[in-house]
Assembly symmetry: C2
Homo-oligomer: 352 residues x 2
Amino acid sequence: MQPQKNGENKSITIYDIAKEAGVSASTVSRVLTNSANVRSEKKKKVLALIEKYNFKPNALAKGLADTKTRTIGVLAADIRNPFYASLFVECENAARAVDYTVVLCNSLGETDKEVELLGKLQEQRVDAIIQIGGRGDDLASNVEYVELINQIMAKTPVVVTGKLDGTRCHVVRIDAMKAMEILMDHLLELGHKRIALIGGRKDVLSTFEKHQRYKQILKENMIEFDPALVAEDGGYNFETGYRQMNEMLDKGVRPTAVVAINDFSAMGVMRSINEHGLQIPQDISVVSYDNTYMAEMAIPKLTSVDYNYEEYGRKLIDTATAMIEGRKTGQLRMVMPTLVVRGSSGPAPLEL
Amino acid sequence: MQPQKNGENKSITIYDIAKEAGVSASTVSRVLTNSANVRSEKKKKVLALIEKYNFKPNALAKGLADTKTRTIGVLAADIRNPFYASLFVECENAARAVDYTVVLCNSLGETDKEVELLGKLQEQRVDAIIQIGGRGDDLASNVEYVELINQIMAKTPVVVTGKLDGTRCHVVRIDAMKAMEILMDHLLELGHKRIALIGGRKDVLSTFEKHQRYKQILKENMIEFDPALVAEDGGYNFETGYRQMNEMLDKGVRPTAVVAINDFSAMGVMRSINEHGLQIPQDISVVSYDNTYMAEMAIPKLTSVDYNYEEYGRKLIDTATAMIEGRKTGQLRMVMPTLVVRGSSGPAPLEL
DNA sequence: ATTATAAGTGAAAGCGGTTTCAATTAGACT
DNA sequence: AGTCTAATTGAAACCGCTTTCACTTATAAT
């Protein structure tokens, strides 16, 4: 009943197993790693002892000895965001399938924390680092940061979900242009012409690309671009979506459809629309990105672009392991978005 | 431009630093750990080299040598649930403050995965394990599982958020009775008498306790217990909340208030109520637990019990480190809930 | 039965740190 | 200058596993 004292009990080691089995430690190691033939009677005996003592080989010693940990560090921006959480879980699954372990850190958007955690991951000798969100998603590469990443990459492969010019980082990311295209096609088909863009910062690559594509598509469809319909520099959460939509409506700007930067943002947009006494989708359609569980909870349910998290996670892990093992993959891999249509988008209202 | 080859470049070690600084490795180790006096000129020189090469001591070697990793494993049920995500982030913060690192694993509710991950954490020689959700929250302890945990605890302290009879696990958990009490007080004060309970499984400790307390409170207030108002054995998500509320309303059962097991569940409940043409809170009030960001997004905003995640995370980490360091703490620590009242709860409608 | 070849095995040297122990060196006081 | 104590230091052992190397034992082929 005493509190657990530290170092109270020596761990059992392969030497203990070896002694009791009447073999050498090398042999135990061989059965553990299945790295060489071991006479089956001895193997059986060793296995039995491992079972008996519930022996767990010390991963630190192992990692130290063979300089690989079969561990991949995932540095996420904020795991409380279901987009990141879903992606992380799928990374975990994919890693598991190829016998790797992932370890998660959250930078919470703070660059210095991000730098610190990157260092910590290196200390732990993770075999590779996957950065989800964070500086690696920025549109413009920060010089110091690029230098840091290059320094890290001298030892540890890094894969990011954005881009990082000036580094040999591999990247796996969503085809943001395509994602915008899907949404626009959907809305245009429904007859919308006054389509607003809410949320996001343009210094984030994917957001930037979406805005680019948005303008292109308008042009292709001979719709005049109206700056009033684009809310610049908002965030990615409920409050900013709510606020930006309020501002737009309060100014008397009336889109017939809104593309929100993600589901959080969309929820804010929807609330704002409701509070202005307007109906979704009769007066204004709302669509967004990420297709998180919130899309199902919204009233009406939210039309949202899905990213196939499972595929995304798999590609991320596959790229990381490829870099670790010197296997070659494309340096840039895309994840294709698909549209999930729900009740929040409908035909454009008739022109007055 | 070649893909990163594995083991391409030997890491720089304390020996390299030592040589260049003209001191012994022991000295470098001393400045690294600040474990003993080192003449300041040498110290300065060593520090300079560390800086110069951006030297990161190998955590594996360190862990192996001193048998502590300053790492705490967190085994969560599902990080996609914002409740767990928030708690995890706060654990991370709290750990950081005392110079520990946390590593996350998700069991996704699968017991065998949970067992496997527990093993993995032990292999990695985490100094302690915190189990958030999962089997450690079950009402009735499973014999095999208890044995497993005891086996683990022979080496590694474990703290759970539920309870685990038959082990020396420490536990930090929410005062679920109090949480129910807060909600009931609020509803009773608003004049509600027909209060429904939706969601959750009674084999989960906290849910069980809530149900217990619910009945007690009814009795204390001379309200007759009506089984029709309690949906047994649902889940903790949107769909189950939605389905259970539908079933209740379709059966003609009409509560004036609903206590949902968490915000997810509450969102389902709210949708069901809406679809039945009823108003929240005019016809039915809805309240729930966890106070996640969804509470703010709901329409109307959701009255929910908050758990002070920061305090919770801090207590969890403090308990873990206490066990690691042989410091004593209570074996059971509670986190007190508070009520956040929003628009989803209002006065009971007048009796017909 | 005799070789040639393959399979199985143990000793020992790392991996990169920490820590004990004994030896030096510095500083404080007569 | 001489002595005593405290502060610094380096050598070497060790943490627990992998792996090379050389050697022994089996198995297959002649």
